[in-house]
């Protein structure tokens, strides 16, 4: 094994150990809950059996740090309507001001933007799921589109060309609107009715499926040009050799041309992936809660501009992770060069 790989493994192991140790030392939920002021505790006790609660208790556990907030809708005499605590390494800190307040905000915002405690159609989970599925479906569709476009059959070629022209020539947001609003309008159905889940969940599922369809169709058009270019960059002699050996068109494509062109597609497909990752924020327009929507909501509702720090970092981490994966794939496919 290389020295570099060894060092990386040691570093990863150390980080995991430190993480586990800090997570074990983290104050428990009960400890966090018991830290609030006597007045709030009294209020919580008083409201224990009532259905209308004035006190909202928020508890977020994020890795080795946790966050607890108590906010009251009824103003106290001293105006203190909110108490925030951060638990870290066995201690609980009041996060009213200073660095503790900053940390508490970061923890809370990150927790919400990652979509923790929510189903898969929230936050970073939604962004990653939508992007990955979009690129996967778009790429598969694009192979057919690309083969169609370079086909000798003029009708197929023109049809595929028109598809690509249409989807590259109109804004993704409008395509999303068409799929989400116009198509159900014309055909008389609602996306959420396609799912037999509780209402709010069905809305998210329906919106997700609509977004996936719109994004995949759009991405297929862009990927088709990538695939076409990669296929046409393969030496003509490969095609001739395969034909001289008696391989059919389909076999030539599957066994000879596409395996060679896939490697050349990886860098531009990675680029397309990153573009979609960011375009995925357009789902705000159909009421899906992705990273961008959540951070915008936090900014407008809580007037906190700090929210953009974790938002940007989350996007960067996702991008870095997938770039790493694509590089690995490219290296793996390059063994024969």
């Amino acid at each position: 094994m290389e020295k570099k790989t060894k060092a990386a493994i040691i570093a990863i192991v150390l980080i995991v150990i430190a993480w586990a140790a800090l997570a074990a030392a983290k104050p428990s939920k009960e400890v966090m809950m018991s830290k609030c002021s006597p007045e709030i505790q009294k209020q919580i006790e008083a409201e224990k059996n009532s259905t209308r609660k004035r006190i909202t208790v928020t508890y977020n556990s994020l890795g080795f740090i946790n966050y607890c907030a108590f906010s009251s809708s009824s103003k106290n005499a001293d105006g203190a309507s909110k108490e925030v605590y951060v638990g870290f390494a066995g201690k609980v800190y009041s996060a009213k001001e200073g660095p503790a307040k900053f940390v508490s905000q970061m923890v809370n915002y990150t927790y919400r933007m990652l979509g923790c405690g929510e189903n898969v159609f929230h936050g970073a989970k939604l962004t990653i799921l939508l992007t990955t599925l979009t690129v996967l479906i778009g790429f598969i569709l694009s192979i057919f589109l690309a083969l169609g476009k370079i086909s000798k059959n003029v009708i197929i070629s023109k049809l595929c060309g028109a598809y690509i022209f249409f989807f590259r020539g109109t804004p993704l947001l409008i395509q999303l609107f068409v799929v989400y609003f116009a198509i159900p309008g014309v055909f008389g159905f609602a996306w959420k009715d396609l799912f037999s889940a509780p209402d709010t969940e069905a809305v998210y599922m329906g919106a997700f499926v609509a977004a996936l369809i719109a994004f995949s169709l759009n991405s297929a058009a862009y990927c088709a040009e990538i695939v076409r270019a990669a296929i046409q960059s393969i030496d003509k002699g490969q095609n001739e050799a395969a034909r001289a050996l008696g391989l059919t068109y389909g076999q030539t494509m599957r066994k000879v041309i596409i395996p060679q062109s896939v490697r050349r597609m990886i860098p531009p497909i990675c680029n397309e992936f990153i573009m979609i990752l960011k375009d995925a924020s357009l789902v705000f327009a159909i009421s899906l809660m992705d990273i961008t929507t959540i951070s915008k909501n936090i900014m407008t509702n809580e007037l906190s501009y700090m929210v953009f720090i974790p938002a940007l970092i989350i996007y960067l981490i996702i991008t870095a992770f997938f770039t790493f994966i694509f590089n690995k794939i490219e290296k793996k496919l390059s063994v024969y060069e």
Partner: protein, 259 residues
């Protein structure tokens, strides 16, 4: 066993690239086991003719027969006689082709290159195909390279793999399109040796080549093509020692002077 006269025969094969007429009414008949070398100046249509036999170029008009069975009949850029796809495929498989630039599949190992067509086209079981591929690679002297990728081989080795790959389909006719033109001079010999062995083994071969020594030594018949026609043909001795046609004379003169 032979129930046919000519293993490959062309009648009036013509080819136009736009207004340019590269092949003019070429008639050629080759008997089983014959080695035919095609020589001639560049641009004479040698490669185009060879590629036309294998239908990598669509001829404008003419007929091609394999084992006296019609493979292709075209007039005015249109196929006039339909051949059933199964027969067509079977006849096409009688021809193997070796290219100037090898055209090995770079993403497959040497063994996979040789096995690809038998397994996918002839549906030979993988085990058997592997065994046969190894035998062929042994024959061309590359058994030790089975697991290498083509990029790791020299040009001469690549061309030998390409020959093994074509032979794996068990063709009765081998077409060679300038098989040594893209090689460094010191690598030409090893490829020619493999071709000589093939010829001695009784393979029918049509070879487009610039290797006059090879043509003289191995060919049963030498064709000189110039300006899209067969200017002269005959035994190597006839062509090289006693050429009749002026084009043959001038071509041989320029080749021999260059050497």
């Amino acid at each position: 066993m032979k129930d046919y006269e000519y293993i490959i025969k062309t009648e009036g094969v013509s080819k136009h690239f736009g207004k340019l007429e590269v092949l003019k009414n070429i008639d050629l008949s080759v008997k089983k086991g014959e080695v035919v070398c095609i020589i001639g100046p560049s641009g004479a249509g040698k490669s185009t003719f060879l590629r036309s036999l294998n239908q990598l170029e669509k001829i404008t008009s003419g007929k091609i027969y394999i084992k006296d069975e019609l493979l292709l009949h075209r007039e005015h850029d249109k196929t006039v006689e339909k051949i059933s796809p199964d027969r067509h495929k079977a006849l096409m498989l009688e021809m193997g082709m070796v290219f100037q630039r090898f055209n090995l599949f770079p993403h497959l190992t040497v063994l996979e290159n040789v096995m690809l067509a038998p397994v996918n086209v002839k549906k030979v079981p993988a085990e058997q195909a592997k065994k046969e591929a190894e035998e062929l690679l042994d024959k061309v002297g590359l058994l030790s390279k089975v697991d290498e990728y083509p990029s790791k081989l020299s040009g001469g080795q690549q061309q030998r793999v390409a020959i093994a790959r074509a032979l794996a389909m068990k063709p009765e006719i081998m077409l060679f399109d300038e098989p040594t033109s893209a090689l460094d001079p010191e690598l030409v010999g090893e490829v020619l040796q493999v071709m000589k062995d093939l010829a001695n083994g009784g393979m029918t071969m049509i070879v487009v080549t610039h290797e006059m020594g090879f043509a003289r030594e191995v060919a049963d018949r030498v064709l000189l093509m110039a300006d899209g026609i067969i200017a002269e043909q005959g035994s190597p001795d006839q062509i090289f020692d006693n050429p009749q046609n002026d084009r043959t004379k001038s071509f041989l003169k320029s080749v021999l002077n260059a050497n």
